[in-house]
Symmetry: C2
Subunit: 687 residues, 2 copies
């Protein structure tokens, strides 16, 4: 439900692919190809309205404005952390659902932020001049420093009213500064019960046919009042027609379609297996731990769905990478490009070394992959409390430096977002923290070995469970006021703190910084240079009628409402309400909430529920509006089918499908099941 | 600790490899090569005594007779199920250890059997004539029927005094009938505490340097008295010298060195990932579940170590198969052999089709791998209780058929062993059964999908946890008397039983048999024929100075006590007691039992503890005697180093090492820590 995965380019794109492939930037949308294939016109006005009506949820999703008063439609699963933070022992909003009957009942989501892209600038040349003539490691540092300076200049030019971010596209072929309007007061308006939002749970996840009301409304506030959002999407109450063209705007998180074969094999052999082993075990621990108390169940209920979702994604990514003939096709495309580069002396001199640079980067990474993962990336020290400790220890030290010398997570442009997250009054379940930390310490010892210097530094002679219990019990970092005190007190307050997690983070930090530096110089620097060479060579050889890998920045994709063939069977594009009730067993995850059982007689069994389209999306697109050619909202993307997962590496238009919620069932449910007429009244309709 | 893995043969062996490679059958031991390399003579008398002094533990291990009165030395970890079955809430033999001070204190291990190979006969020609001219599927059935008849004839010839088993060697290049003396009254004599037997737990497992007293004594009984065992091994109290030649007899369980590249890729892409995902999650569930009660902790304590061991093995097998250059070497060897076959018209006609047959088998298997695994192999219905139900339902039906038409698990030769296991008074922890069954049902639904006919048949509209709770609570199969009643009552008793697990097994059986038949005809039959062709071609092309893949039958391997080089460091072959105490942290799994802390001052810090040798072993060799050229026992194999795991596919003599317990520390511990002078007195020494 969280990731809905995309597309590729086996041989680097020469022209728009025949399939409905591509996560296009808005300045390079293939309007002519779309007009030719679907006989519809998507003009700049259409694109501009879609851009301003599409929101990014900083927690990793997309949404769309549904009224001029800041109402945001997104997926239910995009609001889970908000719902969890607002739930109590007395009131489990995940099980019960939530609806504000009036504005003053809307509840602020701790730490939630949403952004709207308002402008962008191409800075490729500026980055190029800042790194001219340098070796890889120096260029890597200079590139980051220049990005920091460009962001600061952008924010200064907007008098601090905008949030600016450097964006790398085409693996380094282009650099942009994106300028966002940011809302940091976001409130929960409406969310159905988990049982209908995620009906079918993990067994049905990434499957279709499907029946999930995976919707929720948030609202953006400014100065304590609903934000004014004149660009919003009108709805079509009847939803899409079969075969109708459909467009999706949103923020696809990441794809790997431009990676080299060596990089794909690294994922297949190193990254994915280690991740899957760890998370499969973590899932097992959480499945057993949730039975130990009601509080435990509440804490991990949605998190388990999150783990399961991620496991299904990575399991199928691994399966995709084990498809030898696909890897061979990739390899053939890569070889064709290398041959073309080698055949032209100028290209050969400029880009010939690219693939060797990447292989060198991977070989270096393999030497300390586990150490870097468990220590610098904190896989050995999991949990919110350690995250707070690390952020405070490192962030206060970084703040002492000039802006453009800092680690990029702590630049002036990044700090407001970071501080909002650090100070948010999110409840911390200390039992859960202990389970998590114990697990991660055990895995660290398992993978680094009991004789590792890191294991000695962190565990000493303590057992993982005993250490975790002591650290979590003794820490005050669950108190936002204490975090703020340390953060504002800076390096001196940190040095004086006797909080055991702060002390541990301070002890780990110097060595972790060494690992970071080693990673930047030996792994990142040659990789970035190699990737940039390949990107430039690709533009030179194949032109720019192509799209970049996903980067959690705004994209638009197009396609049509259409089923597919599965082992000889035709999968129809629509599901309807009648089958939902037949499929319900009364047992989770196939259990319906009481509200639906009660409303059964009043619901039209023929109402279209979920549907599929040939659009090219991935994780981060969750909550994306599905828009008709006339600009009307006709659906809400929440998932892909099982074939969409291979879309991380390549797009197979014959089977890769987006799964969405039909506006028809959203409206009927609001009216008939939830009595949410006031929300329906806030919407604007085109039919 | 359970698997200690072997050797190979990248290009089919032409002569004895230079490394100390090979799990040799006793009739084909390369005595000349050994004499040349190590200047020692291993003659038939030596081999015959080693054969009769080596025991197979039917639970999957090896042991050796240590006296003329049936005393058997094996690993502690080979006795864990016995120890668990004999433990109670009041007396946890795993934590406390166990020592019988007199014969009448020796405790019978429920269901444990041990066997000694006394004779064998080559029946390759008989199997060949029984299958002459048949297509693969018919030949596959005929081969099994002939094996059953040959076993029955062998047992009849020995007046029922022997247990006979058909054995396939060289993937079908040879067939043998092995004749065993079997002991079905096996008692626990001595076992140290888990904390010292498995010191270092999973973190140290497959590592070296190492400090584990992984030893135990059992005793074989006949007619209620200690068995007479004139062939036993004398001990050398001082253990081995550095560089000394060493020989290991035992029952390596299985290796995959003769598989084709297509078969290896099937393991890499299908078998291993699915297994690892399931068991990583199961491990996580058990880690969390063990904290819910003392009974739970006792039930799963050793099982978790078992899961962890198996996970480490398979994780490193996967890593081995991801070593592209090793796969390429395998592929080159395979291609060389295919070219040699193709170049000779006679060979081409006889064997040319072999590799295609195997690819066809794999393609067929891929189509229903999950269904076969979860249903016919019962991965979706785990636990002892379901095992009993399935065995009773299927076994009573099979017993109705003539012997040579039965599934091979239910032939007259197999039934005594099966019945001993079925009727053994092993305690069943119903809570554990419920956790296991719930997990396996959930995984079945996850992998087969909620719409699978199997999921509908087994779950109906029940949730996995609710169904598991109902089945386990309602079943009487934990009572051995009830199992015996059903088994002896035959198909009518089964049909009349209202036990919910029996009813479920009866409902699953017809479809499961269909899957079995499909597997035999589409997967097994072409594979067996293809493998046999390759085996024959290999003999024709490269001769018979080679060894077969491991098959849990008696083998001997040779090598020397020798360390290795690890990233530039020299690993010395011996560890000593002093470092054990330095390494202890007081926290599991680096916690010493009280008996050792108390004895610390009395122990010689210089006593050699564990050691490594270049011998080629694998899982099933656990508990194997490590024997000097003069026939004296000098060590007890219990593990391999991390490099030994890749030995499933190939043998790298430069790093693959066996890890053993030195006789010196075994004797000192018995005398100084455990006051087991009476056991030391029962041994015979050569120095």
């Amino acid at each position: 439900m969280t990731r809905i995965f995309p597309t590729l380019v086996l041989v680097p794109l020469c022209a728009v692919a025949a399939a409905d492939e591509g996560m296009w930037t808005l300045d390079n949308f293939p309007a002519d190809a779309v007009a030719e294939k679907y006989d519809v016109s998507i003009d700049d006005r259409w694109l501009r309205n879609a851009q301003l009506a599409t929101t990014r949820l900083e927690s990793g999703c997309t949404g769309s404005f549904a009224s001029a008063n800041g109402l945001v439609l997104t997926n239910n699963h995009c609001t889970w952390s908000c719902i969890r933070n607002l739930s109590t022992a007395e009131r489990n909003l995940s099980d019960e659902g939530f609806m504000a009957r009036a504005r003053d009942e809307e509840l602020r989501c701790p730490g939630q932020q949403i952004s709207v892209l308002v402008d962008f600038e191409d800075v490729t040349d500026k980055i190029a001049s800042a790194t001219q003539g340098m070796d890889e490691a120096d260029a890597n540092e200079a590139r980051k420093a220049e990005s920091t300076r460009l962001e600061a200049a952008c924010e200064a030019a907007a008098d601090g009213e905008r949030h600016c971010e450097a964006v790398k596209l085409y693996n380094g072929g282009q650099y942009f500064i994106y300028e966002y309007q940011r809302y940091d007061d976001v409130r929960l308006v409406f969310a159905p019960e988990l049982d209908i939002a995620a009906f079918g749970g993990d067994p049905d996840n990434f499957n279709f046919p499907r029946w999930c009301l995976d919707m929720a409304f948030l609202r953006a506030y400014e100065d304590g009042k609903p934000a004014k959002t004149p660009n919003y999407l009108r709805w079509r109450a009847s939803g899409p027609d079969a075969g109708e063209p459909v467009f999706i705007t949103g923020h696809p998180g990441s794809t790997d379609r431009l990676l080299t074969v060596a990089q794909l094999k690294f994922q297949r052999d190193v990254t994915l297996p280690l991740w899957l082993l760890r998370y499969s075990e973590l899932r097992g621990r959480m499945m057993a731990w949730k039975n130990t108390s009601d509080a435990a169940a509440r804490t991990v209920q949605q998190r388990i769905l999150g783990y399961e979702n991620a496991i299904k994604v990575r399991r199928n990514e691994l399966k995709a990478l084990q498809t030898d003939y696909m890897i061979e096709r990739k390899a053939a495309g890569e070889q064709a490009m290398r041959d073309a580069v080698a055949a032209d002396p100028k290209l050969a001199a400029a880009y010939g070394e690219a693939w060797d640079l990447i292989e060198r980067s991977l070989a270096a990474h393999r030497n300390f992959y586990e150490e870097h993962l468990f220590i610098e990336s904190s896989a050995g020290l999991s949990g919110e409390l350690y995250y707070y400790a690390k952020t405070i220890v490192r962030g206060t030290a970084e703040r002492e430096k000039p802006n453009d010398e800092r680690i990029r997570a702590y630049t002036d442009a990044a700090l407001p977002g970071l501080e909002q997250s650090l100070f948010a009054a999110r409840p911390v379940d200390k039992d859960f923290e202990e389970v998590q930390l114990t697990f991660s310490l055990e895995k660290m010892r398992e993978w680094l070995g009991p004789d590792s210097q890191w294991v000695h530094l962190i565990l000493g002679k303590e057992a993982p469970d005993a250490l975790a219990a002591r650290l979590v019990a003794g820490s005050k970092l669950d108190d936002p006021a204490y975090r703020r005190k340390l953060w504002e007190g800076g390096v001196e307050a940190v040095a004086a703190s006797d909080d055991p997690l702060v002390r541990l983070a301070a002890r780990v930090d110097p060595g972790a910084r060494d690992l970071r530096k080693r990673y930047e110089d030996e792994v990142e620097a040659p990789r970035v240079r190699g990737e940039q060479m390949i990107a430039d060579a690709r533009f030179r050889l194949y032109g720019t009628d192509t799209y970049p890998d996903a980067t959690f920045t705004l994209r638009v994709t197009y396609g049509a409402v259409e089923g597919w063939q599965e082992r000889g069977d035709t999968i129809e594009p629509f599901t309807r309400t009648a089958r939902l009730f037949e499929r319900a067993t009364g047992q989770a995850p196939f259990r319906l909430p009481e509200s639906w059982s009660r409303a059964r007689e009043d619901l039209d069994p023929e109402t279209p529920f979920n549907f599929v389209a040939t659009t090219d999306i991935t994780g981060g697109n969750s909550g994306s509006p599905m828009i008709a050619a006339d600009g009307a909202l006709i659906g809400l993307a929440f998932d892909g089918n099982i074939h969409s997962i291979a879309g991380d590496y390549w797009f197979d238009g014959s089977v890769n499908r987006t799964v969405g919620v039909n506006t028809a069932i959203m409206l009927e449910a609001m009216k008939t099941v939830y009595g949410a007429g006031h929300l329906v009244d806030e919407l604007t309709f085109v039919d």
